[in-house]
C-alpha cells in the first residue's frame, strides 16, 4: 500500500487532468446547448460510478448476510444463479422486448446488467471474506454517496440554463436518483448511530431493503414524465461519437479515482477495526490500566509499513 498508493495517485491525477483537457477543449461544442453541455463529462461518469458502488454495496451486504450460516449461503448462491439465468432469458421474450423499448433500453443491455449480479456476487465472494465484506459494503456506500451527491449537484447546474429550472419535481430519473441518495444516506446514518458488532448485521439488512426498494421507487413514479436526456449507452439516446469517446475517457478516469479512494478507505477502515480490537483486548487483559495506547501504537506502526 505504501509504495503503490502514491504512484497510483499520481497516475490517476494525470488521467483526470487528461480527461479534463479532453472534456473542455477536444470535445466539440454542442449545436443546441453550447458549452454548458460539457458538465455531462462530470455528471454522467459520476452517476455511473455511484450506481456501480451502490451495486457493490448491495452484493457485499448479501454476501455478508449469507455467510452467517452455511445453509443461507447455499440458498443465496442458488437464488443468485437463478436470477442470472432468468435475467438473461426474460429480456429477449417478445413482450418484454417491446416493453424495454418503450423505456429506451436494448434487451441485450438489460441481459448484460442481469448477468452482472451473479458475476459480481461470486467475484466479491471469492476475494472478500467475513469482516472484509462489511468493510467493502461501508466503503462502497460512503464513496457512492459522494459521487451521487456530485450527480445531484451537477444536474441542477446544467438544468438551470438548459431547461430554465433547477429541478423538475415530477421527473422519473431525478426523483429515483434522489430517493437512492436518501436511502444510502439513511444507511450511513444507521452505521453512525449504532455501535458494536450488531451494526454490521443491521446495516447489511438495511442495504437489502434499500435495494428491494429501488425497483418499487421506479414503478411508483411510472407516470411521471421525463425530460431527462435518454441514456447514451445501451439505450435509445444518441450522441456524437467524438463526445462519446470523451465521455468514456472521463468515466475511466472517474473509475480510477473511485478505486483509489475506495482502496484508501478500505485500508483505513480495516486499520480502525484492528485498533478497536486491540484496545478492547488490552482493556480486558489489564483492567484499569491505560496500556491501550501502546497496543494502538503497535497496530498503527504496522499499518504504516
Amino acid at each position: 500500500m505504501k509504495k503503490a498508493f502514491p504512484i497510483l495517485a499520481v497516475l490517476t491525477a494525470l488521467f483526470l487532468a487528461y480527461a479534463f483537457y479532453q472534456a473542455m477543449f477536444i470535445a466539440p461544442t454542442d449545436a443546441l446547448q453550447g458549452d454548458v453541455y460539457r458538465i455531462i463529462f462530470y455528471h454522467v461518469p459520476s452517476a455511473w460510478t455511484a450506481f456501480l458502488l451502490f451495486f457493490i454495496n448491495f452484493i457485499a451486504s448479501v454476501q455478508y448476510l449469507a455467510s452467517a450460516k452455511p445453509s443461507s449461503a447455499r440458498a443465496a448462491k442458488w437464488i443468485v444463479i437463478a436470477v442470472g439465468i432468468i435475467g438473461v432469458v426474460v429480456p429477449f421474450l417478445p413482450q418484454v422486448q417491446q416493453w424495454l423499448n418503450t423505456i429506451g433500453m436494448y434487451p441485450s443491455s438489460a441481459a448484460t446488467t442481469a448477468l452482472m449480479i451473479p458475476a459480481a456476487y461470486f467475484l466479491v465472494g471469492k476475494y472478500f471474506l467475513g469482516q472484509d465484506l462489511d468493510v467493502l459494503a461501508v466503503t462502497a456506500a460512503e464513496v457512492g454517496v459522494v459521487f451521487c451527491t456530485i450527480v445531484l449537484i451537477t444536474g441542477p447546474i446544467w438544468a438551470r440554463p438548459v431547461w430554465g429550472i433547477w429541478w423538475a419535481p415530477g421527473d422519473i430519473r431525478l426523483t429515483s436518483t434522489l430517493v437512492l441518495w436518501l436511502i444510502y444516506v439513511s444507511y450511513l446514518v444507521l452505521r453512525h448511530f449504532s455501535d458494536g458488532a450488531q451494526t454490521q448485521k443491521l446495516a447489511a439488512v438495511l442495504a437489502v431493503f434499500g435495494a428491494l426498494d429501488i425497483p418499487l421507487v421506479y414503478f411508483s413514479i411510472w407516470f411521471f414524465r421525463t425530460q431527462h436526456p435518454q441514456p447514451v449507452i445501451g439505450g435509445g439516446g444518441s450522441m456524437d461519437p467524438r463526445m462519446l469517446h470523451v465521455l468514456l475517457i472521463s468515466w475511466m478516469a472517474f473509475l480510477c479515482f473511485a478505486f483509489l479512494v475506495c482502496w484508501a478507505r478500505f485500508q483505513l477502515e480495516k486499520l480502525r477495526r484492528e485498533v478497536e480490537e486491540a484496545e478492547a483486548l488490552e482493556s480486558l487483559l489489564e483492567p484499569g490500566g491505560s496500556a491501550g495506547q501502546t497496543s494502538k501504537g503497535k497496530v498503527l506502526s504496522r499499518g504504516r509499513q
Partner: protein
Amino acid sequence: MRSYWSITLATLAKDIRLEWRSKDALNAMLFFSLLVVVIFVFSFDPLAEESRHIAGGLIWVAFLFATVVALNQTWARELRNQVLDAYRVSPAPATALFLAKALGNFILVSLLEALMAPLFVIFYNLRVLGPAWQLIPVALLGTWALVVNGTFFAAMSVRTRSRELMLPLLLFPVSIPAVLGMVAATTNILTGENSAHFYIVLLLTYDVVFTTACIGLFDTVLQAE
C-alpha cells in the same frame, strides 16, 4: 410446543390488553394527528376543488407521522425487564413475534385512521368524486405497508443509540414508493379523474415484497449481536 399461530395470537393478545389498559399509544397518536390536522387547516385554506387535490397528501402525511409515534412504543416496551432478551432465548419462532407486533400496530393505526378520517372530511369539506369503496383497499394496503416496515425498522432502531430519532430516518426513505402510491391513489379516487388501479397494484406489490423481506430477515435483526 405451541403452534406458530397460537404464539402469534398470544403475543398479539398481550399487546392489545396492555394497550387497552393504558391507552398510552392510542391517546398520543390521536392527539398528535389531531394537532397535525389542525395545523394543516391553519396553514392551507383551500377551496373545495383544491382540497380534493391536496387532501390525499395531507391525510397520509398526518397518518405517517402518527404511525411513527405508535411504532416507537412497540419494542421500547419490551426493553424494560429484559423482555426482549427473554424472547431471544425462547424457542418461539422470531417471526411469530414479529407478525404479532406488526398486526398489533396495524390494528392500532387502522383504529386511528377510522377515527381521524371523518375529521378530515369535515375540515376540508371533502366529497368523493371517484369510486369511494376503493379507499378501503388503499387504506388497508397503505397502512400495512407503513406498519410492516415500521415494525421492522423499530426493531432495528431500538438497537441503536438514539432510538426514537432513528426510526423515521430509516423508515421514511424506504417508504417513499408506498407513500407515493397511497397519496396518488387517494387523490385519484377523490378527484375521480384517473383510475387508482395501478397504485393499488403497486401497494400490493410493495406489501408482498416487504412482508417477505421482513419475515425472512427478522431473525437476523433480533439475534444481531
